[in-house]
């Protein structure tokens, strides 16, 4: 399928009058997929999602159906589904648009996924900053209870479900699935050591699935139109790589930074960064060129201008040294911007958001920020560049020094900025100049 033939799936109803109301959602065929799923065995729903090749949209790209099969087969007692609506990765805003514009699409996905996983209580963890989303969801959930789409015996079936909204409190780490679970339980959002994985022991020490909002929005379409339809979009798995699971389906790309038309675009997975910027975001602003592009949220690191023909599927960004596709949040940085200022901003973010549980992350993110502060004050040393690289290779789950991946996300901007733009860092330090950027130091 070429991009020009593609009709938006997840954003298909955005901009319609009253797109948030149950009435308009039903008029567009909404909740038919739920009725269909409830007529199937729950294991068949899981098999359908598995067959579609759907991979989680929250950042890690883990196959969704497979995640559901990790729940123990014979469960006595409750299973929980937690919806991760803590969207906080810099550059990412697709959950916000999905919820504000078409909440029932997400909620229908949640009810189907809850049925598939035999969940009877689902918690929707929503970042506090999304107040409008909270109110839209609350109204939508009330409508569902009033119309037999939630509560006891949904649509006359034997299946019953409650969904509770749970608001966060402005902490990035709550997007990490076990941090989210701890936060839901009323504790500090300190990620847990795994195993046990949430499927075995998650929320309230019970088997739990944590799924992203965009992932949930895909589910009704897969049930209604079938896994084969979903697989007509995207990049098929690489036959020469047994570990590749492919990149199927539509994807929401968030475009921000130095482009003429920042916004949310839905396309079959696998468009290149260059096409996305030129065809769908009006090109780089002010007639300038891109210097660097973040492929999927700041924790994925940077691509250089030469690497912009990389496809933005699950495998593409990794081939050019980035951590992965992440949230597919593309941040464009123009050639008038200093990479020292950009990297400082990224490091400061992670220093601010490190939960402080693991020493390498707590100290490494703060240390790297201080080194960059020094460089920006004109007091940097050339040896600082290798010091930053040393920190970046020592923190995270990849070197095995931390419990969760936050520090890997802090390391990748450092690694890729320095490896791809080293001469710029050297020149900056040698010149001894101070940053012109007004970024406020301190207040980490």
């Amino acid at each position: 399928m070429s991009d020009s033939e593609f009709k938006p799936v997840l954003l298909g109803r955005v901009g319609r009058p009253n797109s948030q109301s149950l009435e308009s959602y039903k008029a567009d065929g909404g909740y038919k997929a739920l009725a269909k799923a409830l007529s199937m065995a729950n294991t068949d729903v899981i098999e359908t999602v598995k067959a579609s090749g759907l991979r989680g949209r929250g950042g890690a790209g883990f196959p969704t159906g497979l995640k559901w099969t990790f729940l123990p087969k014979d469960i006595n007692g409750p299973v929980y589904l937690c919806i991760n609506g803590d969207e906080s990765e810099p550059g990412t805003f697709n959950n916000r648009v999905l919820i504000e514009e078409d909440p029932h699409q997400v909620l229908e996905g949640i009810v189907i996924s809850s049925y598939a996983t035999r969940t009877t209580t689902a918690y929707f963890y929503l970042r506090y900053e999304y107040g409008r989303c909270y109110r839209v969801l609350k109204a939508a959930i009330d409508e569902m209870y009033a119309n037999n789409l939630l509560g006891k015996n949904i649509l006359g079936s034997n299946y019953s479900l409650d969904i509770h909204l749970h608001r966060g409190a402005c902490a990035y780490i709550c997007g990490e699935e076990t941090g989210l679970i701890e936060s839901l339980e009323g504790k500090r959002a300190w990620p847990r050591i795994k195993p046990p994985f949430p499927a075995i022991e998650g929320a309230f020490r019970r088997p739990t699935v944590v799924n992203n909002v965009e992932t949930m929005a895909c589910i009704p379409h897969i049930i209604e139109r079938g896994p084969e339809w979903f697989m007509t979009m995207g990049i098929p798995k690489d036959p020469n790589n047994p570990r590749d699971a492919g990149s199927y389906g539509p994807k929401l790309y968030c475009i921000s930074g130095h482009v003429n038309k920042p916004g949310l675009v839905e396309l079959p997975m696998g468009i290149t960064a260059r096409e996305l910027i030129d065809k769908h975001a009006g090109g780089v602003w002010k007639g300038r060129k891109a210097k660097a592009v973040v492929p999927g949220g700041i924790s994925m690191g940077f691509m250089s201008e030469k690497e912009l023909d990389t496809p933005l599927d699950f495998a593409g960004p990794g081939r050019v040294g980035c951590l992965g596709l992440g949230t597919a949040a593309v941040i464009v940085i123009d050639d008038h911007t200093s990479m020292v200022d950009v990297l400082y901003n990224a490091c400061r973010f992670f220093a601010h958001e490190s939960c402080g549980q693991c020493t390498p992350c707590r100290e490494g993110t703060a240390w790297s920020t201080k080194i960059l502060e020094r460089i920006r004050e004109g007091r940097g040393k050339l040896s600082d560049i290798d010091l930053l690289l040393e920190i970046s290779s020592s923190i995270g789950t990849i070197p095995g020094s931390t419990i969760c991946g936050l520090a890997d996300g802090a390391a990748w901007p450092m690694k890729t900025a320095i490896n791809k733009f080293r001469p710029e860092f050297e020149e900056y330090i040698k010149s001894g100049r101070k940053s012109e950027s007004r970024q406020l130091a301190g207040a980490h």
Binding site: R96, R167, Y172, R438, A443
Partner: protein, 158 residues
């Protein structure tokens, strides 16, 4: 006298049925109290702990993790304004916007104007990068703002 209003107590208690543990009501309770009082005092922490059958130290432990909640020494102003400084907003002037507001209002990030009307906060990514620079007023986002827009919306200044 009780620190929590009868209504706050009632709303907190209504949350208990939603979770298999009372401790899970900690964040909702902290939100309810801060919304009402602009901070969570030590006395309020004790009262929340009583309702949820926890030690006040457990409430404090959770509360202190989230920079969102304020103690009685450092209460919020009437309106809380957050300006985003993360990369997508920085690239489009978020940092300059924050500095400008600090100058105009004579406060540093985290501070409250002397008339107690506005608390200015720096925010990490608010999830509105399509409208950078963006701000959050209490819990409503506004996209593509200038310092004049902020003044107009928050203080009614033309």
């Amino acid at each position: 006298m009780s620190e929590l209003s009868p209504n706050a107590k009632k709303v907190i208690e209504e949350h208990i049925d939603r979770y298999p543990s009372k401790q899970a009501v900690t964040l909702p309770a902290l939100h309810i109290v801060q919304e009402e009082r602009g901070c969570v005092s030590n006395k309020a922490m004790k009262e929340i702990a009583e309702i949820l059958e926890l030690s006040p130290a457990q409430i404090h432990d959770t509360m202190s993790f989230y920079g969102f909640f304020r103690t009685e020494e450092d209460p919020l102003g009437k309106t809380r304004v957050w300006i985003c400084r993360s990369l997508p907003c920085m690239l489009r002037g978020g940092e300059e916007l924050l500095s400008e507001l600090c100058e105009r209002w004579g406060i540093q990030p985290g501070g409250t104007t002397t008339d107690g009307k506005i608390t200015l906060e720096l925010a990490e990514c608010l999830g509105a990068c399509d409208g950078a620079p963006c701000m959050l007023v209490n819990d409503e986002l506004t996209l593509r703002v200038t310092a004049d827009d902020v003044e107009k919306q928050v203080r009614g200044v033309q």
